[in-house]
Symmetry: C2
Subunit: 249 residues, 2 copies
Amino acid sequence: MLIESLTHPAPEALLAFLRAHLHARVTLHLAGEVEVLYAGRATSMAEAGDRLLLVKPDGSLQVHGPRGVKPVNWQPRTDHLSADLDGGCVVLHAERRSPAEVVRVRVIGCAQVTALNLADEALFLLQGSEAQMQQALARAPHLIEDGLTVLDRELLVGVGGIDLYARDSQGCFVVVELKRGKAGHDAVHQLGRYVDAVRAQVSAPVRGILAAPDITVPALKVAQAAGLEYVKVDALPQVQEEARQPMLF
Amino acid sequence: MLIESLTHPAPEALLAFLRAHLHARVTLHLAGEVEVLYAGRATSMAEAGDRLLLVKPDGSLQVHGPRGVKPVNWQPRTDHLSADLDGGCVVLHAERRSPAEVVRVRVIGCAQVTALNLADEALFLLQGSEAQMQQALARAPHLIEDGLTVLDRELLVGVGGIDLYARDSQGCFVVVELKRGKAGHDAVHQLGRYVDAVRAQVSAPVRGILAAPDITVPALKVAQAAGLEYVKVDALPQVQEEARQPMLF
DNA sequence: AGGTTGATCTCGACT
DNA sequence: AGTCGAGGTCAACCT
């Protein structure tokens, strides 16, 4: 996994190291004093400072400072990566088109640089996504309201899709918007848009339900004012009742 | 800057290393085979695989795989960090309250671990934020429309704030919503909300203008259908004309 | 390639 | 502490 590592390399040694590994499906880690320029959707410059640089085999690049999960500068995926000598310093260029962006990293001093092989064989499982919540509630719509019948999932209406489209025991159409976390007023507005879109196409009464484990106070007020309903549902609804359901027929 | 680095340390040596540096205002970098559990707002597990681990002095932790800017697992800022031996493996615990979350990293094999001092003395400048755009357009509202007079910035109306509140040459009130990038339909709806809120309080006619460097086709259609206007403005409006303005008085 | 949505979003600012 | 909105959001999915 550890391919090669240098400590305090001279610029020429660093350049050779980078050129040997940059395009070799390798993950690079560099710690050192660095100066970063970015130009693209916005423009930024960072004066020289101690930073941690990460370059992954997909060409993505990130420059980390001493705080936070977010890099100080980054490039999601580069179409072109190169290393050159400029004024006695190694300079990394990371460019991409669409959007047209470039990050230039000038390495003033390198304390350590490492080439690694990060093979990605590992299984990854995430529980609690909105997609899982949607699946669970589509199977057990009574967790939202008794007598609800799900007609569709991800129904496209105008722009965007309705998480759950259903009919209640009274025959009303019901638009359900799901949020896996606490719902804010943006979720209420999103629901309002979908309800409006359905009302424009259907003559029968249409209800809007925001289903989430929690809701902010302002969002609840906005919902009530707009005639939309909020229903508290668990983020990980346990749908094990069906296993207990006796076979009736 | 480079404090200490070990290659292929045994678990006991790694544990000593981590305990010596974890709470020493130091940035840690670890490359190795690792297994990660996360529980909090969601739940995830990653089987053993080659990963790159980063721990910063603020307690933030991230586990990187071979692709993308985003870590596979992370923890934004921990209240509690600890390292222990469990079944012959070093295990890192990173916990925080609010939200209650925990990340557990089991180090199965460590190829390299490094302690770094990332002093943050570096100046960072970002140009092209929406705040800068707002300031520039407030000073030069003619870039949006001739004869516009800005009355207010970030005017609070109901929930949320109006980026720019103005009056046009005809005496109409104008609500301006700014976007630094391409505007989507969410921006149009946001503008619509604000316009509605102002109309409810003012008897004079109210216009809504979406000012952005670009707009998606669907968003433009929605805007036109709702009687809202789109004005193309540069993301970095150069307001140097005022320097050329002759002193009239 | 363009558009939309979700995210363990992160992060800062403000109440 | 809670809420809100921006972000160079990123990244996945769909048309």
